[in-house]
């Protein structure tokens, strides 16, 4: 029994998630501190009709990185393999929701006045991308599923599953039906 418990709690989680590296060692820190892109929406823009562009497309990067800035290896990869051929960077999106989820950044930031960090944590100040852990079966990012296996002792912005959305909505007494978040 003990054996089963130990495997179940330790080995299993390791086996369940595949750990993947981002295509580029992107540094939020440098961009916010050195390049003066202090606001999240300097790159992650909500458009006029409320549509959210998510991670900046390659044109945006090219705005500054048309030529190599600095000598880092990541910089070289960025310019040579993405900007020059104007290929989109295949980012692994930590908070990517499944296809049937409709989430409007406009509604949550403009109307509800949430801060980016409320859901995404302080990731904007990280100096290198964390490892992307993907569930082998469901294909979800572990940041969506939440890191704690037992679901206990979670950080406030750990996990972006339906239950997490529901908790927040309950706390803020905002009632929505299925249509509110699903398409």
């Amino acid at each position: 029994m003990g054996l089963a418990l130990i495997t179940g709690w330790t080995a299993f989680p390791r086996a369940l998630y595949v750990r993947r590296e981002q295509p580029l060692q992107f540094q939020h820190k440098t961009h916010s501190e050195k390049s003066g892109l202090t606001q999240c929406d300097s790159c992650h823009v909500v458009g006029s009709d409320g549509e959210f562009n998510g991670i900046a497309r390659i044109e945006t990067c090219a705005g500054c990185h048309a030529e190599k800035v600095g000598t880092s290896k990541a910089e070289a990869t960025l310019v040579d393999s993405y900007i020059k051929p104007s290929r989109e960077t295949p980012w692994l999106v930590y908070s990517r929701q499944p296809a049937n989820v409709w989430f409007s950044h406009a509604i949550h930031t403009r109307r509800a006045g949430l801060a980016c960090t409320d859901c995404h944590g302080a990731y904007g100040t990280s100096d290198q991308p964390k490892v992307y852990e993907q569930n082998r079966i469901s294909g979800y990012s572990r940041d969506v599923e939440g890191h704690s296996m037992s679901g206990l002792g979670r950080a406030p912005h750990d996990g972006m599953k339906m239950s997490d959305c529901e908790d927040c909505h309950r706390r803020r007494k905002v009632e929505v039906g299925c249509l509110g978040c699903h398409k």
Partner: protein, 250 residues
């Protein structure tokens, strides 16, 4: 304020062209038919049915009746029977929402629906190579083994909401939300609007003397109204009125 969206469909104006069916399918990422699909195993969230008065010769008349989910407002049959809340009546809009990702495909809701407005995905959805690029990003593709139906083009409601939020408005602009079928109808036979709003043309149309609903006596309060000036067409509303027969092939 909460809305009660609904349709008033003028059968005098329906020429049975089928634009609503195609527009609906394109908007909602409904896949083209599997080679083995038939009218009884297909996916047509809105289906235009051809009816005739059963007469011969010059007295023979035909009409077309577009049938989609009636978004029943009372004792909604499908909502009542779904074992795991994959269907619900949206409080805010009155839309009867089907959530295929929650559905386990027991099809109890299909037996419950008197309008046959619910469809089962008998096959995995498939498009010819490359055609998946033409899919509408606002709508999730369903998978095999689940039930789907008209959700009143909720994707369009979503973008309307988002637009409103971006503009700092709380209510959506009615002009931003019109389902694909109503928008597509070349003769303007399909009228869409908020039945709860007295000033909405749909509300008034639904009260016209020519307006009727299908099987209204069952008491499910459908939010889809029909209109016709022809008596034999009006007679199609209820079962115990003289019955025309379903005509084959258009």
């Amino acid at each position: 304020m909460s809305a009660r969206y609904g349709f008033v469909i003028d059968l005098d104006r329906c020429t049975g062209c089928g634009a609503c069916m195609v527009a609906c399918a394109a908007e909602n990422n409904v896949p083209p038919a599997n080679p083995r699909a038939t009218p009884r195993t297909g996916l047509t969230p809105i289906l235009v049915r051809k009816v005739s008065n059963g007469m011969e010769g010059a007295a023979h008349r035909e009409a077309f009746i577009p049938i989609a989910c009636m978004h029943c407002g009372n004792e909604t049959p499908c909502v009542r029977v779904c074992p795991q809340q994959a269907v619900e009546v949206d409080k805010e809009t009155g839309i009867v929402v089907q959530m295929p990702q929650r559905c386990l495909g027991c099809r109890y809701c299909m037996t419950a629906c008197p309008y046959h407005a619910r469809y089962f995905n008998w096959w995995d959805p498939a498009w010819p190579a490359g055609m998946e690029r033409s899919l509408n990003p606002g709508v999730a593709v369903r998978m095999r083994g689940v039930v789907e139906k008209c959700n009143m083009c909720s994707a369009r409601l979503h973008s309307a909401k988002e637009k409103a939020a971006a503009a700092g408005r709380k209510e959506i602009d009615p002009a931003d939300y019109i389902p694909a079928c109503a928008e597509a109808c070349p003769t303007g036979a399909i009228l869409f609007g908020n039945l709860a709003d007295k000033n909405d043309p749909v509300a008034s149309a639904s009260h016209s003397s020519d307006a009727f609903r299908l099987l209204a006596r069952i008491g499910t309060e459908p939010k889809v109204y029909y209109k016709s000036t022809e008596d034999w067409v009006k007679a199609l509303a209820e079962r115990d009125s003289p019955q025309p027969t379903e005509a084959q092939h258009g």
